[in-house]
């Protein structure tokens, strides 16, 4: 009987330790993921701020996507959103997901009503001639370096 109890205690202790360790690990992971970085995109790559909003933005992570249904489902708060869509719904979805910056790639020019709505919601819109792959590559490098620093 005693033996069994000890065993249980031992088991519990182990579980506690495991949980503590696991929680700590998760916390570190989350902190890493949630860590907000400041960026001024115009200084990092060839792009132009199209809205009257801050040049410098705080972000954590990037989401790239042109299917707005997908972005609505999967982008996270604080992400930079890289897309070629210029419809006004971009502004609505960025607002909904608490995205502070949208980068429009491939020389696509955003609609005037999209820009005005982004300004209302204080979302910075950048336009660039670069493509999604290049922009994401540079943002990835920037974020990685900032985490290492």
């Amino acid at each position: 009987m005693k033996c069994r109890k000890e065993n249980q205690d031992h088991k519990m202790k182990n579980t506690d330790e495991y949980e503590q360790k696991h929680t700590k690990y998760q916390f570190q992971q989350n902190a890493k993921r949630m860590k907000t970085i400041h960026i001024e995109p115009e200084k990092i790559f060839d792009c132009t701020l199209a809205t009257r909003t801050p040049k410098q933005i705080a972000f954590s992570g990037v989401y790239a996507g042109d299917l707005l249904s997908d972005v609505m489902g999967h982008a996270r708060e604080g992400n930079i959103w890289v897309t070629m869509q210029t419809h006004k719904n971009v502004a609505a979805i960025a607002g909904l997901k608490d995205i502070r910056a949208v980068i429009i790639v491939g020389n696509n020019q955003p609609d005037a009503d999209m820009l005005s709505q982004c300004e209302c919601e204080n979302i910075s819109v950048f336009t660039t001639g670069l493509r999604t792959y290049e922009v994401c590559g540079m943002l990835y490098e920037y974020e990685k370096k900032s985490h290492e620093a």
Partner: protein, 242 residues
């Protein structure tokens, strides 16, 4: 009168349309299905619509001429024109907004303009499946300017639709109606329409093969068999589901 209508049919002009979709076969199949109104809507082109309209007329079938336009956002929209003059204007408008991608007939299929005897008059070189550079709001304005009917296609589909490309119905778009695909009933869709609210709903076959014509249809309550009456009935939701 109550008109049986299937407003979304492709012809041999659409690369994905079967080579059996000739004007004569489409009219024949519409007769077999008892359709009084059909819509000829090829991808980004109206070039086969007029001939089908003139052929169907003698059988008492009214043809809504137009196209299924792929907007810059990759959203498919049915656009119908009220007469052949407006159809011509609309066709020229579309042609100035094509991308430069050329069709590969091996891969995508042929894009044929034909006459009533199935003789090939022309082959369209640009890939009609590709998106135009017209934004959805600009397309809506153009169709309204020409007095046409604007209906976003298969809005419930997970590709090339308002839902997939734009997430939800833009509140400032004001389409005349929306189309749903044949996989769901109008009643089922209306139970949970989300951002589409109370817009009139049509349902059509999106036929690419003769056997699919009339697979889905609606009844339209209207006084006359003409564009204006049908368009008005759709705008005011005088639609009965199949």
């Amino acid at each position: 009168m109550r008109l049986k209508a299937d407003l979304h049919i492709h012809t041999v002009l659409s690369p994905c349309g079967s080579l059996w979709m000739s004007p004569a076969i489409i009219v024949q199949r519409a007769l077999e299905e008892g359709l009084q109104v059909i819509g000829i809507t090829d991808h980004n082109s109206c070039l086969n619509a007029a001939i089908i309209q003139s052929m169907a007329q003698s059988h008492g079938i009214f043809v809504m001429t137009g196209a299924e336009v792929c907007t810059a956002e990759d959203v498919h929209c049915l656009c119908f024109m009220k007469d052949l003059h407006q159809l011509d204007v609309f066709q020229k408008y579309l042609e100035t907004h094509y991308t430069t991608v050329q069709n590969n007939t091996q891969r995508f299929g042929e894009q044929l303009v034909v006459d009533e005897n199935e003789n090939i008059i022309a082959e369209v070189p640009q890939l009609l499946l590709a998106a135009t550079n017209i934004s959805i709001n600009a397309l809506r304005s153009k169709v309204r300017e020409l007095g046409g009917l604007f209906i976003p296609a298969h809005v419930n589909r997970s590709s090339y639709s308002i839902s997939s490309q734009l997430g939800f119905m833009p509140p400032d778009l004001y389409p005349d109606a929306i189309e749903i695909s044949r996989q769901i009933s109008i009643q089922q869709f209306s139970e949970n329409p989300g951002s589409f609210g109370k817009l009139p709903i049509i349902q059509s076959s999106d036929a690419h093969n003769p056997e699919d014509i009339g697979r889905a249809y609606i009844f339209i309550n209207t006084k006359n068999l003409c564009f204006e009456s049908i368009a008005e009935a759709i705008r005011t939701n005088k639609i009965i589901s199949m």
